[in-house]
Amino acid sequence: TQTVSQSDAHVTVFEGDSVELRCNYSYGGSIYLSWYIQHHGHGLQFLLKYYSGNPVVQGVNGFEAEFSKSDSSFHLRKASVHWSDSAVYFCAVSARANTGKLTFGDGTVLTVKP
């Protein structure tokens, strides 16, 4: 069984600040990690994924995430946030690459103040 923990329920920053949203997972085997964004009243949209290779992966809109096997982490970062980045961010894991059988964290609400 895999589990996902997003330790920060809420993060508030100002426009132009950098931000890191944390994700830790537990699973004994090969794991595939992804991040999704959910704007209010909408479904989830894919941001980025990792399953092998370079541990730093680039996603859409300037987001990147870094995988660490030793820390069991997959933290999401952005160097300079915009007000439109305000949303809920979900980290998700799956045991196989080609599956949408995802286990989600509880999400982090990111608020970007002007």
Binding site: A9, S34, H42, G43, F46, N98, G100, L102, T103
Partner: protein, 114 residues
């Protein structure tokens, strides 16, 4: 562009009644999924399907049935709705190929059981 359409978008049902949530995808994806999202939490997998005629139980299948009559359509059925099934339901589709783990979500159906 990949599209997953859910209907209805909002539904109020009475306890003990039958509810059917519908999902249509134009992505020609083999895999489809039903998730529920409760306030302050991530999504949890109810049922999924690998193709027409196939349905599989997810992590929380009790009280739900699923039907996949065609590649494009995947329904979630609550035979006897209960207030505990009040939630937002998301349908998703995904490509079964090894190289693509992106999953596309619909906009959600808000179900209230009174």
């Amino acid at each position: 562009e990949a599209a997953v359409t859910q209907s209805p978008r909002n539904k109020v049902a009475v306890t003990g009644g039958k509810v059917t949530l519908s999902c249509n995808q134009t992505n020609n994806h083999n895999n489809m999924y039903w998730y529920r999202q409760d306030t302050g939490h991530g999504l949890r997998l109810i049922h999924y399907s690998y193709g027409a005629g196939s349905t599989e139980k997810g992590d929380i299948p009790d009280g739900y049935k699923a039907s996949r009559p065609s590649q494009e359509n995947f329904s979630l059925i609550l035979e006897l709705a209960t207030p505990s099934q009040t939630s937002v339901y998301f349908c998703a589709s995904g490509d079964a190929s090894q190289s693509n783990t992106e999953v596309f979500f619909g906009k959600g159906t808000r179900l209230t059981v009174v």
